[in-house]
Amino acid sequence: MTTLPRTQASIDAASRQRNATIRNTLLTLLTYLLAFIFFFPILWMFLAAFKTEQQAFQTPPVFFFTPILDNFSTALLRYGPALKNSLVAALGSTVLAFVLGLPAAFALAVYPTARAKAVLNWMLSTKFMPAVGVIVPLFLLFKNLHLLDTLPGLIIMYTTMNLPLVVWMMHSYMTEIPFAIYEAAKVDGASVGTEFFGIALPLALPGVSATALLAIIFAWNEVFFALNLTSSDAAPLSVFIGSFKTSEGLFWAQLSAAAVLTVFPVMLFGWIAQRQLVRGLSFGAVK
């Protein structure tokens, strides 16, 4: 290589550089194209929400049209109760998961015993329990306890779903707090309660908000318990959208408006919490 004349080498380098630039541009274009294809179903749904029913149906598809808002006002009439149920179930279960999970995460992080690791792993393993492994007795229990089709019933199961996540995430955030801070507090005679409310909780607050966003997203999008434990009074958005499955091909614009109202609140949350999403989805294994 070094025996090549200098001029030849620089020409080579220049053409290599040019090839790399071309290749890079093509790869960037490919990325844009793939992103468009992946986003298309969402975009198509979004557009249909602003069309008339006739336009939504039309073949060839309509790309340019005068947007209307009628579908949203129609969808909102039925959307209201389901939205309220989804909000209460998602927020209620997130709060309960934190009330139960934060103290546990704190104790496991600041007072780790020999069994702490085993306890954490066991909690994670409950996520490997498929919902179908518990649904039959739960259904019968809920029926006897009059919890079927009620929001407390839904909150109970969503808390189960999110509790391991909260414990794992908050444990990981609380172990990042320098241990010296706790030591200093202990020397000053701080109680466990003071350590929790005075040190751990305020310092792990960014972790609390990130984890809460995740828990809300998961509870909001949950389908299995919602469909099998509620029917009307407590039916959240997943059941509401599911009710459109029989109206095959009839009200695409209305369906799209309802779907947009269902999807976009959590999509916004997800976009905001991108970084934490990766950490939460992998239970802290990938940061």
Binding site: N24, T31, T59, P130, G133, T160, G189, N221, L255
Partner: protein, 304 residues
């Protein structure tokens, strides 16, 4: 020394109420035991009875008859096969697509953060919404967008959900889970120090060698996380099937969760549904343990 009271290291009892660390863990533990372990043991119990809610009084103990029935009926074996096809198919496709997208996003270009945001969106869509939107607006043989696309490219319209039902479900689930693979694999790539790549290039490594010997070993942990969590989650796919094919045509797209839903809530057959639930839990846990083992072995041997 002994005369000096050393109470600072131990939590001081305050006014009769003592908050111990163990007392902080038990509520969460008890809650999870009550809502996962207790119902699971009840599922095991029910699985040994012939128990139908239509006739709840007549409930004879039948031993392993429910299991035997499940594991010998060819239709039920197809349900197991469907679960396997759906899981393996989705896993392979999401790893290829998600890995490719992660590598594409792991470059410097204008709009990178924006594209990452756009590309992760499908993961945030509720499964039932995915199902009804795909079923009606994309896959409908007459009015669907894909049918129009196929026709305008000179093909004949395809009734995807009737003729390629499992393929359609795999496509939907892949659409939802590709961002998951992409995000985790991208984060894995980004933690690879640039100087390792530089060093490999200076040593004259080809792009393929660079991938095989530098990128891949570093990527292992992220790949393992994707394989494990996706396997467990895709085995539980329910909303996508509920909202589109309802398990059909026939049993073509009935997977384990959908089968159990049908047995329990359409036929009220608590015994058989419970037995199928137990089989699902056992299968999932065998897979999870096997995958975790495989991974911890790779982590310890992949150090160099």
């Amino acid at each position: 020394m002994t005369a000096v009271p050393i109470t600072a290291s131990a939590p001081k009892p305050k006014g009769g109420f003592k908050l111990t660390p163990a007392a902080l863990i038990w509520p969460a533990l008890l809650y999870l035991i009550m809502t996962t372990q207790v119902p699971f043991f009840m599922t095991i119990y029910y699985s040994f009875f012939r128990y139908n809610l239509v006739d709840p009084v007549n409930r004879p103990f039948v031993g392993f008859a429910n299991y035997a029935g499940l594991l010998t009926d060819p239709d039920n074996l197809r349900v197991l096969g469907n679960s396997a096809v759906l899981t393996v198919g989705t896993l392979v496709l999401t790893l290829l697509l998600g890995g490719g997208l992660a590598m594409l996003l792991h470059r410097n270009f204008v709009g990178r953060a924006f594209l990452r945001t756009i590309l992760m969106s499908s993961f945030l869509v509720m499964p039932v919404v995915t199902a009804v939107i795909w079923k009606n607006m994309l896959l409908n043989p007459v009015f669907g967008f894909l049918s129009w696309l196929v026709t305008s490219l000179g093909g004949t319209p395809i009734d995807f959900l009737a003729n390629h039902a499992m393929g359609s479900i795999v496509a939907m689930v892949t659409w939802e889970w590709t961002p998951f693979a992409m995000l985790i694999l991208l984060t894995g790539l980004q933690s690879l120090p640039d100087d390792q790549i530089e060093a490999a290039r200076l040593d004259g490594a080809s792009p393929l060698q660079e991938f095989r010997y530098v990128v891949l070993p570093h990527w292992m942990q992220a790949l393992e996380v994707v394989v494990l969590l996706e396997t467990i989650n895709v085995l539980q796919v329910y909303g996508e099937i509920y909202g589109s094919t309802s398990g059909g045509p026939g049993v073509a797209t009935t997977n384990l969760p959908y089968f159990i839903y049908q047995k329990a809530f359409a036929e009220y057959n608590i015994g058989v549904a419970s037995a199928a639930g137990v089989i699902t839990v056992v299968l999932t846990n065998i897979l999870a343990i096997y995958l975790l083992r495989m991974m911890s072995k790779n982590v310890s041997s992949g150090g160099h």
